[in-house]
């Protein structure tokens, strides 16, 4: 059982006030808050062993290199990758996706097909559209239904020997739907297609096992799971990462450089040109330790309880409609009030100290599907409480009163 009052003490920001009210932070799907242990790790790095890594022989550089590589090991263990060098540290999910989308440029030809889901964040749509423009490949879309779930029957009909790549998120950022990724991966593999899963929204709630999933690429950002911004990971199966060309040229990613020819370094350095976010990488590892010390099963059970409570309480408000009603979803509630614009509701709710997201959530195709300009999205984390949900419900009621 999770002791939320004890956990809240780990997050200094939760003590602050906004507009004279205690902060209620329900924008966790955008970024999570940072526990003191992670803040301490960042301070410790800059206070005690800030140095460039992988090349210095001096003590500081070796300490920083060790800490950075320990972080990579932690990521390996967390995601259960087969090899440590299959973990590439990046600046975040978007960077990770772009490495793969760019890498496939020479592996696709005109008429090849790639499949995306209707539930994607723009960052898992646009890089592939750019890939299609470069190669002449065709982008196909797995449609969604009213509940915000992927229509898997249609997915079956989209697959063929022309399919080279399938990419979808594990969990939708706008609606919280948990997608049937194991089924997607297995079916894609049957026609010989590679699969990339965007784990930006799943990693705060679920501990994915990439070997069990047999996924080709899995990507995530540290800042969604209590780590700092500007750092993330790309997991790729060794054979794929060896096949793909480097994304950027620079230091760190080379073996030998002459003006005639350069040979590239092996994995993971081939994809890590330039000085990385050293401190961020180390703090990413500490964040994973922190979340694992609570336990992902405990986190999921607690958040599901918040989701059930929040759903019930919000639906008591007349005229409130929830978008994304799949039975398989995480603690995200996307909603609108009658015909009131989400921006209006968001503005009032913010005045009451509650942080929610309003707008299209970088997923315009989903909003087009529902024919709405956007939603108000409350996303709960394991440090949130039912009392905070009550505060949200009161705030939404107040907004409704002012705006109707």
């Amino acid at each position: 059982m999770l002791d939320v009052h004890k956990i809240r003490k780990d997050f200094p920001i939760l003590d602050r006030q906004v507009n004279g009210k205690p902060l209620v932070y329900f924008d966790n799907a955008a970024t999570s808050q940072t526990p003191q242990v992670v803040i301490d790790a960042i301070v410790d790095y800059y206070s005690n062993y800030n140095a460039n890594i992988h090349r210095g022989v001096h003590t500081l550089s070796q300490e920083a290199t060790d800490a950075y590589e320990i972080a990579r090991k932690k990521i390996q263990t967390h995601f259960n990758t087969k090899h440590t060098h299959e973990v590439i540290l990046t600046s975040g999910t978007t960077h990770s996706i772009n490495i793969i989308a760019t890498g496939f440029t020479n592996l696709l030809s005109k008429g090849d097909e790639v499949i995306v889901s209707a539930l994607e964040h723009h960052s898992n749509i646009v890089p592939w559209q750019m890939l299609c423009e470069r190669t002449g490949a065709i982008l196909k879309v797995i449609p969604m239904n009213e509940e915000g779930e992927l229509v898997m029957d249609v997915f079956d009909t989209l697959l063929s020997d022309k399919t080279k790549l399938v990419f979808t998120n594990h969990i939708s950022n706008a609606l919280g739907t948990i997608n049937p990724i194991k089924e997607i991966i297995d079916k894609a593999h049957k026609v010989g297609a590679a699969v990339l899963i965007d784990g930006a929204q799943s990693c705060p709630h679920i501990k994915p096992d990439v070997q069990e999933l047999d996924v080709d690429f899995y990507v995530a950002s540290a800042h969604k799971l209590c780590g700092p911004t500007g750092v993330g990971m790309l997991y790729g199966k060794e054979e794929w990462l060896n096949k793909l060309p480097p994304y950027q040229g620079g230091g760190e990613m080379i073996e030998l450089v002459t003006f005639e020819k350069t040979t590239y370094a092996g994995l993971p350095h081939k994809f890590e040109a330039g000085t990385p976010n050293i401190c961020g990488g180390i703090a990413f590892g500490v964040a994973l330790d922190y979340m694992n010390s609570i336990g992902f099963d405990t986190i999921a059970a607690y958040e599901n309880d918040l989701l059930a409570y929040g759903t019930e309480k919000l639906l008591e408000i007349e005229g409130l409609k929830i978008y994304g009603t799949s039975k398989n979803k995480t603690s995200v509630i996307s909603f609108n009030l009658d015909n009131i614009h989400p921006y209006d509701v968001g503005s009032i709710v913010d005045k009451l100290g509650i942080a929610v997201r309003t707008g299209h959530h970088c997923a315009q195709p989903i909003m087009d599907f529902y024919k709405i300009p956007g939603t108000i999205r409350a996303s709960f984390s394991f440090y949130n409480t039912k009392e905070e949900i009550d505060a949200l419900v009161d705030a939404v009621k107040k907004a409704k009163m002012m705006l109707s």
Partner: protein
């Protein structure tokens, strides 16, 4: 009334309120007095970019004074554009171009100047001034 005088009038009105709720309610009320844009002008071209909600603005010049009409699909935004139009409506283009808009801070809408939302208000002011610059060129 000059732009300055109208701004002062609005500041006096907002000074009557003690808290943000009353200010917002008044702003929503002001939205109802907005000179509404004709449906035919609610085109993609007349949408102000950079707002989370949709804002359409149309401008015409009569007797060297600009007449604005507008609408929005969000009512707080409608209140904001109504305040701006009340300030700039039926003013000479040069007056509009040269006007400052610091009164926004005084009426407790400062947060609408911050990024993301802010884009909204900043873009609205910019768009109204763009119309003024265009008509100024016409006069000259």
């Amino acid at each position: 009334m000059t732009i300055k005088e109208i701004q002062e009038e609005i500041m006096d009105e907002f000074a009557m309120f003690d808290d943000w709720m009353q200010r917002y309610e008044y702003m929503i009320e002001l939205g109802k007095s907005l000179p509404l844009i004709e449906e035919k002008y609610k085109t993609e071209d007349n949408i102000i970019k950079g707002c989370q909600s949709k804002v359409w603005v149309h401008a015409e010049m009569n007797d060297n004074k600009i007449e604005f009409t507008a609408d929005s699909d969000a009512i707080i935004t409608k209140g904001i554009i109504a305040i701006l139009i009340r300030v700039f409506n039926r003013q000479h283009p040069t007056e509009i171009v040269e006007a400052d808009t610091d009164f926004i801070n005084e009426i407790g809408l400062k947060e609408h100047l911050s990024p993301t939302r802010a884009n909204g208000l900043v873009s609205m002011i910019k768009q109204l001034k763009m119309y003024a610059i265009a008509y100024q060129t016409q006069i000259n």
